[in-house]
Symmetry: C2
Subunit: 200 residues, 2 copies
């Protein structure tokens, strides 16, 4: 498969880790995806518009967030290399989104649109299996997040995050991380300073 | 299919709304489930034990919750008739649970165990499709919950809950609802009293 553009190689590795596809199946799978290059600060999803795509990150970093009436931002999702991002409630039901999804860095995505995904699922059981695994793992991930939000204090939520996602913690702006963890930027700053002093 | 025990009829209706199964497929599907009757206060999942089953509620009400070191309880999930409940992070990965799942009323469940579910998924594409739809909808449901928890104040979270799930709000103890909404029982009580006075 030496003629495959290099942007697709991480997605192929990602898929083969989950379901064993033949070369033909891999080709069918990746043909449903288009390469999309976006600049830092560019939006791929906005509230009130239907999220048309599911997005796999080849390179870069993105953030999904809501903006309240008073202007306060809440980060719902981050995505860096080898992660997926969309407004899933919007994408799955094809209803208007409630989130923005914006690039935090210049990024390269592989995008599949809703209709192409439906066709892929219908065209063979293994494709269905792949998206079933995606759905199950997202459910498990979000359950862990709901439990952490309800049960841990701010300091514990931060510790847990940098343990599980050290690469994201280093790359995203402090105010986006604070709003993901459900705390103010000042609280996050205090927690980080306290840790630095503990270590030294 | 007049020989099918009546406990299975709600599950059959539930499945047929999502995927169109033949009579034979429906039989294969429901044969993977066992009827389980449990008494009020009985546990079906406990922390540190792997959640062996996915549970469909034929009758009754259940609650999934965590208990913090200090004894504080946080409700992660409710389930009444026609809902599913488990510790999904535990069930999907077959790792130790972090939640309790307890009956709030005498309940009748249909249970499928992890191995039977895997066999069912492998035995035909439509079964895979059904569980894929379950995973996707759980993801969307949990995303809505994460957004509400991060963006709404206590009063708004309560209003949203009773609008979306009026039947659950009426049936579960006040302290379990308060902990689901991430507030104290006193706050929930204040919010409920305020509403009663507004209406009268």
């Amino acid at each position: 498969m030496s003629d495959i553009p290099e942007e697709y190689l991480p997605l192929i590795a990602h898929v083969q880790k989950r379901v064993s596809f033949s070369d033909t199946e891999i080709r069918t799978f990746i043909e449903a995806f288009q390469v999309k290059k976006i600049k830092k600060r560019q939006f791929i999803i906005q509230p009130d518009f239907v999220a048309t795509h599911r997005n796999y990150v080849v390179k870069g970093a993105l953030r999904g967030y809501t903006v309240a009436d008073g202007g306060q931002e809440n980060t719902i999702q981050f995505a860096i290399e080898d992660w997926w991002i969309s407004d899933y409630n919007s994408y799955i039901y094809q209803k208007p989104a409630t989130m923005f999804v914006m690039a935090l860095e210049d990024s390269v995505l592989l995008q599949i649109d809703h209709r192409a995904e439906e066709q892929l699922k219908q065209s063979g059981q293994k494709f269905e299996t792949f998206f079933r695994i995606m759905g199950e793992r997202s459910t498990a991930y979000m359950q862990r997040r709901i439990i952490r939000n309800l049960t841990l204090n701010a300091e514990e939520r931060y510790e847990e995050f940098i343990k599980n996602y050290p690469l994201i913690a280093q790359r995203v702006p402090q105010y986006t991380l604070a709003s993901y963890l459900g705390m103010t930027t000042e609280s996050l700053s205090r927690i980080r300073n306290k840790r630095v002093h503990k270590k030294s």
